[in-house]
Symmetry: C2
Subunit: 584 residues, 2 copies
């Protein structure tokens, strides 16, 4: 510290000085031409400084490192080290991740894994503790996390709080199991993240009174303003699936900008590589009319302040030397990234970086992550469905939306297809197999609007419990697809007529690959292309659609290991029934 103070005072040389740049001062919202002096990982001074190392950044802009206040790393489908490699060159120096998917598969080991795997990273990875595992009682996850399983994690310095409290309904009803989690988080002085699309009025008051401090589900200005008025911070989300920035761009103005920040929530590997991460959101905000410095502030100072990170989010003495050098401010063109005062990325490349191998010893450390599949070989017999009537209740997709509808078709048996499948009517077979504890639980049903005309598609990424989901036109291909994923301890597979056309192993809990983001993105593209050949149209994301078809919290029908769920009634309903009988 003494060295830093003396360097700041100019009594001795700073270790590193970025010379002649424009400092993006997110506090006073102005550009300042000043050298930035850095010693021992900290910004020590702005002004006219000499350094042991000097880097001329004339004409460039120096921003604080970007922070993503809410993300699920799992959505990038890559290991934490690869996530870092994907986002650091885009200027991201810290993220708050909710390992919700990992925890649904591996319980507390999912949290331990993410904390351990991110410990040595250059990127600051803060963890919010998954609050809703499983998401509902009507789902069969790999683990159940109660307050007592979470509590000890608050002692970890990188655990900043309780992650999105999706069970808003239970919270405002005063559900004790939720309140216990809240009380533990508050007792530890931590943040409680919200997730409550459309919550309003007294329900919102109750949710805020419970201590929920933010929301990232606002789809419009009116909703966001009501939540701001009630004390919540607004996370303006712009991810791969959900995009709210355009609707909320007017919040990038005083006084609202003081309590808003940008987040991604979920971002797929291809978009991370091609479009970027927080730099992309800032760029888009500017293109939508936001003041550039204020937009930078909403991805730096604001999340830092909200999460209580005192030494992050600004270019000022005493702050961590996490800096992003831009060649163009309005276009957010990142040239260099400094983390703790060291060059962490240069023109998109991370210098001197060795790729770590996934070893057997490494795998053995986390059995619930690397041996997450507990499922016997899948057989055709398991997939048999004996109709109890002539009518088939079909889970029907809605293009570009997560909502599903219910459709009824007549039971049909066409040679070459599984009984009940009617490709003419765009209805294929679907199964969800419990894969955490080999219980043999299986849900079988029919999927409409998926477009599949041949073969089968299988995946172990299936929200939120991540059981094995498979859709196909015949049982043999469905069995092959399912067993392919099973053999890989998780992943994606596309099969046609007894041949595996493509597969992507996701050995990390059945959710994430060990490969680099580029490789995973390319593989995903290949698999997507293969599904197009099987008939799935461009309007349907073949894997994301499947992944949400099992989540029993979104209307109207979902299929999980318990069977077909009417999410509005929150009960299991029969897949086939006789005309005139009670539709249950």
């Amino acid at each position: 510290m003494k060295t830093q103070i003396l360097a700041a005072a100019g009594s001795q040389k700073a270790e590193l000085v970025l010379k002649h740049g424009w400092v993006v001062n997110v506090i006073t919202e102005e550009l300042e031409q000043a050298d930035v002096a850095i010693t021992a990982g900290m910004i020590v001074g702005l002004g006219d400084y000499a350094g042991e190392t000097e880097v001329d950044v004339s004409g460039s802009f120096i921003c604080p490192g970007f922070l993503d206040g809410h993300v699920h790393l799992e959505s990038a489908m890559i290991a934490p080290a690869e996530f870092e490699r994907a986002v650091l060159p885009h200027g991201t120096t810290g993220v708050m991740t909710d390992p919700h998917e990992l925890a649904n598969v591996a319980g507390t080991q999912g949290i331990e894994y993410i904390l351990a795997e991110t410990e040595a990273l250059t990127l600051d990875v803060y963890v919010m503790l998954p609050s809703c595992v499983p998401a509902t009682g009507l789902d069969e996850s790999g683990a159940v996390l109660a307050a007592e399983q979470l509590k000890a994690f608050y002692e970890h310095e990188r655990v900043l709080g309780l992650a999105e409290l999706m069970n808003a309904y239970g919270t405002v009803q005063g559900d004790e199991s939720i309140l216990n989690k809240i009380l533990d988080a508050e007792g530890a002085g931590k943040i409680i993240n919200g997730h409550a699309p459309g919550l309003s009025g007294k329900q919102l008051n109750a949710y805020a009174a419970a201590g929920v401090g933010d929301d990232h589900e606002c789809s419009g200005r009116k909703e966001a303003l009501e939540k701001l008025r009630r004390g919540q911070w607004i996370m303006i989300r712009e991810g791969t699936a959900a995009k709210n920035l355009e609707a909320l761009i007017s919040l990038c103005q005083a006084p609202y900008d003081q309590r808003c920040m940008f987040v991604t929530d979920d971002r797929h590997p291809g978009e991370l590589i091609e479009m970027g991460h927080m730099d992309y959101i800032i760029r888009k905000a500017i293109s939508l009319g936001a003041d550039p410095i204020r937009a930078v502030k909403m991805a730096t100072l604001n999340p830092a302040r909200y999460f209580g990170l005192k030494k992050r989010g600004a270019v000022a003495p005493g702050y961590q030397a996490d800096l992003v050098v831009l060649s163009n401010l309005e276009q957010v063109k990142v040239t260099q990234v400094y983390k703790n005062g060291r060059l962490a990325a240069d023109k998109g490349e991370i210098p001197e970086r060795k790729r770590q191998e996934l070893t057997e010893a490494g795998k053995a450390q986390y059995p619930r992550i690397y041996q997450s599949f507990h499922l016997s070989e899948v057989t055709k017999e398991q997939l048999q469905l004996v109709p109890v009537g002539s009518q088939v209740r079909v889970l029907c997709l809605t293009p570009y939306e997560l909502l599903t509808t219910e459709r009824t078709i007549a039971w049909t048996e066409v040679p070459g297809y599984a009984p009940g499948v009617d490709v003419e009517q765009d209805v294929v077979k679907m199964a969800v197999l419990e894969r955490h504890h080999d219980t043999g639980h299986i849900g079988i049903g029919f999927l409409g609007g998926y477009g599949l005309k041949a073969g089968a598609v299988a995946a172990s990424v299936a929200h939120d419990s991540h059981n094995l989901i498979v859709a196909g036109v015949n049982d043999a291909d469905m069995v092959l697809a399912a067993n392919t994923v099973r053999r890989n301890q998780g992943g994606l597979a596309v099969v046609k007529e007894g041949i595996v056309l493509g597969e992507l192993p996701l050995p990390i809990a059945g959710l994430m690959s060990w490969e680099p983001a580029e490789v995973v993105a390319e593989k995903l593209d290949e698999l997507n292309a293969l599904t197009r050949e099987l008939g799935i149209p461009e309007s349907v994301d073949p894997f994301m659609t499947l992944a949400f078809a099992s989540l029993p919290v979104i209307p109207k029908l979902r299929l999980n290991t318990y069977g077909l769920i009417d999410t509005e009634k929150q009960e299991v309903v029969s897949v086939t029934y006789e005309t005139g009988t009670k539709k249950k």
Copy 2:
């Protein structure tokens, strides 16, 4: 908590509802007409609520409770309970106090005392740990506080950090004893308050790099902007002695308003009663052109956020029900004050409040507070000064300023006056007697510009060490004044021709009275009036001037127990000398 949530949701009645008022929403900077529902001390909801108790506040404005981010309670010269009684009716529900004066007298017991005495108060009293006791090595205080004496206090939940780091020079030089205090505060995740008038450039960088988070000494916009740019929060001070609001009023605008707050620093009892506390500053800010809601924010949400008080500073669900009801927003007319959801003050009165008696048992608990005087009976012999030359170096006051100048007069002996005193030239005698450890240390010198023509004035409030200071025209009156203060275990006294004209005992460490603010204010007025009769002009505050005459950190000359100090040279200089000799 469940009760609160259910009340918020409207499932059960709230305990208390303030009906039909205008909520001053400091987050969105707007007025909202809404009921405010309160249960178990917390605001649970805004909207349309029914309560077990309902209070109609139609036409009134509901603000968050006011917070004073930097104050020395000792300056009000009254016990903490009386301070509360003085400020609560003005809407103040929390203060961050630095018990710097108490600690200079009583060391850690001064801190323990303030924590204990404020524990049961309705007012939230947070404590910042005195960082500079004694203020300089050239002073003789009652205690020395090193890092190890302070550290344990950080465990107390109402201790928010390290108080104003006045030794800015030592800090930027990397003085280890200061750095240790900083490191302890940072290690405990606490705030470090600054105090660095005029600090700029690299010195400021070094001070900020050391972790000093704020400043309350800015006297102009330029200085404040530089400090804001370097990451410091600005405390806009408007106290009894120092007044900076007018010069800094332009900071009450975005984006600066986000990181500025109002503070009093020092406020005398008479002004607290007659003019108010934070309500006065808000009112003045509005009269100077500040937006009313933003002005309220700068005394509520901003200090709460800066000090990390998550549940304070706004009228929103989940926030502490600390509320101020105003009948007029622009004039900040406080009618009611609620603390933790209970009526704490109503039209200036605190309901059902018993005055606590100062008992012998209470005194015995804090010997260093209530028996802080360790000084043998003062005698005329002690005050003798034998001149070593014909010239007298006079500590000369500057009207309306704390700065002093050096003036030289010839040694003179006039019958009826102490040798050296020359009332014709407005020069009287002055002495500072060590009173903490009865060391017999005494500094004797001469004071110019004080106006005293007869008698003597004595006080035990003498910054920062609070030794016994006395000024007079003859030794007999000086001895009587000193012994009067001594007999009272501290206080103020005015004496003329062997008669004690007036006295104010300050039994709490020689700094504060046990009487109510009104009584103390009245007594002070009386004493001041008496000094006018002795010749002190209106341009001189008789006691404040004396209190600062011993502080050896402000230019140019000061007198303390070591003798006459040249503060620029930081050394003792002789009071008398012969013409032509080296002036030392």
